[in-house]
Amino acid sequence: MTAPTARRRRTDRWNADTVSQLVAAGVGAVSLTWVLSARVLPIGRVAEAALFGMVTFVVLYGVCVASSDSWFAARDRVAAALFTIAGLLLFAALVAVVSFTAVRGYQAVLHINFWTETTATTGPADPLTKGGVLAALVGTLEQVGIAALVSVPLGLATAVYLNEVGGRLARTVRTVIDAMSAVPGIVAGLFVFAVAVLTLGYSRSGLAAAIALAIEMLPVVTRTGEVVLRLVPEPLREAAYALGSTQWQTVRKVVLPTARTGLVTAVLLGVARVIGETAPVLLTSGFTAELNADPAHGPQVSLPLFIFTEVRFPLDHAISRAFGAALVLLTVVIVLFTAARLLGRKKLS
């Protein structure tokens, strides 16, 4: 034997053929797009050119593969290319949103007063060294916190009911929950406004806003929670019953702990759904620029409402403040999600 060590064979798709096909299709697509957009077609804008380029790339790539391989292989690779492009586009959109907000808002958040002051004594035209989002931050945390306090236990309990108890009534409940998840935020806001403010005579407050948010959050937590509970394997429940446990003990000690990470996701999706909601808050919380830490009395501002108010001024500083607040909102979401993920980690006794 001449070879001292065995040569490992490559089994992945990234062989010379694939690379050359990709490069060929890429070069072809870029040139064609350039020629056509510069000379022939009326596509002046970057977005249109990019779209055209992508389509051309996929077509050329398919032709390249087909000419050296088979139509069968071409179909497979074109599908792979399309899905990859879809994923990249989505990722690009996300990056664009976050970076756009960051670029427009970073100047505001760099000032310490942005975190420690309110806009109670600050006008929209005042420089960024005055005023901040403290009141809105407190309002958002309180309103979302109360909404979660209401809808997480209720939602998870309903999810347990739908999945573990079931029965004919469960189907009705599921339909109602589905209908609830289709209710637009503004309708939830209107409902709370009509019932609490107009009928019962309570003033607009953070609490009213929190209830509107809870109405929106409940179906998300319930339906996601139900799906997660359904993923818990039946043999685990059987094992628990075979040890002599009751249904409640089985749910409490086996089903819920097993589904723990998934249930955290359910809660997070619920929070994510409402934390940036403007419409229901707009109708129910009232507006004040002052810090009001009491959600039960008087108007209370929140981050979405703050953004909504500031961004409507045709003034650079106000708009900067709005983007700064948006950045704060993104930060709050990231912090909450990271914390929840850490808490949701499986830890053994």
């Binding site: 059987e238 094992a239 086996v254 499986k346």
Partner: protein, 271 residues
């Protein structure tokens, strides 16, 4: 033929008496009858093997013995199941008490993934909220009885999912033993195990059978011959519900069956 299981037991047993008695049991799933007129006695401190071709109702029968059958929507049954002379389907008997007394090991190992190895062993206590004087001792004793202690004593706090399939099955046996059942039902406990693990489980069965009455479903004739003292042959003929064709001492059923169908089955000629 020299079957060790048929020799005199090493430790003296208490007098053999009927422990769990199925009396004219029939079972249905919806309108589909799967068992008819099953009468079978499980003696205390004895291993009883249930054999028979696939789909003849062995698992269903086993689940009737600890009231797991009724967990299936639409399932129903007729007849009586007497545990120490008392009907477990009597109205005032709680299913949870029955299941605590008549434990079960399933065909596929099903440890609780969210619990550590140690917690899995005492899961019966943790879930039902009962206390024990010395948990660590119970964990060790149960794992020793299941023949798993040596392999896991240094990793009791790790998740149960990190064990191999055979170890998980023995963990499930330890879990079933930790609640101190009087009867242990085992539904093909070795069907997913390698020969070595199978041996260990069989040894475990032999050891615990001095204190616990064991009912084991198996498709492995050698296993039935090795571990059981008594044996029942189930058969469901075309479109008919399952019935017991023959039952009695394992040695007799295997070596001088009275029914030709039993002879064919234990000789591997069908099923």
């Amino acid at each position: 033929m020299n079957e060790p299981a048929l020799l005199a037991p090493v430790t003296p047993r208490t007098a053999v008496r009927p422990h769990l008695v199925a009396d004219q049991v029939s079972a249905w799933f919806g309108d589909h009858q799967v068992l008819e007129d099953i009468t079978l006695t499980v003696h205390n401190s004895t291993v009883t093997a249930l054999i028979g071709p696939s789909g003849c109702g062995k698992s269903t029968f086993l689940r009737i013995l600890n009231r797991m059958h009724e967990m299936v929507p639409g399932a129903s049954l007729a007849g009586r199941v007497l545990l120490d002379g008392e009907d477990i389907y009597e109205r005032r008997v709680r299913p949870t008490d029955v299941r605590r007394t008549v434990g079960m090991v399933f065909q596929k190992a099903n440890p609780f993934p969210a619990m550590s190895i140690a917690d899995n062993v005492v899961a019966g206590l943790l879930i039902t909220g009962r206390k024990t004087a010395d948990k660590d001792a119970l964990i060790e004793r149960s794992l020793r009885r299941a023949g798993l202690w040596k392999e896991v004593e240094n990793r009791l706090r790790t998740p149960a999912g990190t064990l191999s399939g055979g170890q998980q099955q023995r963990l499930c046996i330890a879990r079933a033993l930790a609640v101190d059942p009087e009867v242990l039902l085992m539904d093909e406990p070795c069907s997913a195990l390698d020969p070595t693990s199978t041996r260990r489980v069989e040894e475990t069965i032999s050891e615990i059978s001095h204190e616990v009455s064991v009912v084991i479903v198996t498709h492995n004739m050698q296993q039935a011959a090795r571990v059981s003292q008594r044996c029942a042959f189930f058969l469901a003929e075309d479109g008919e519900p399952g019935r017991i064709v023959e039952q009695g001492q394992t040695y007799g059923v295997f070596n001088s069956p009275t029914d030709p169908r039993t002879a064919d089955y234990v000789a591997g000629r069908f099923g």
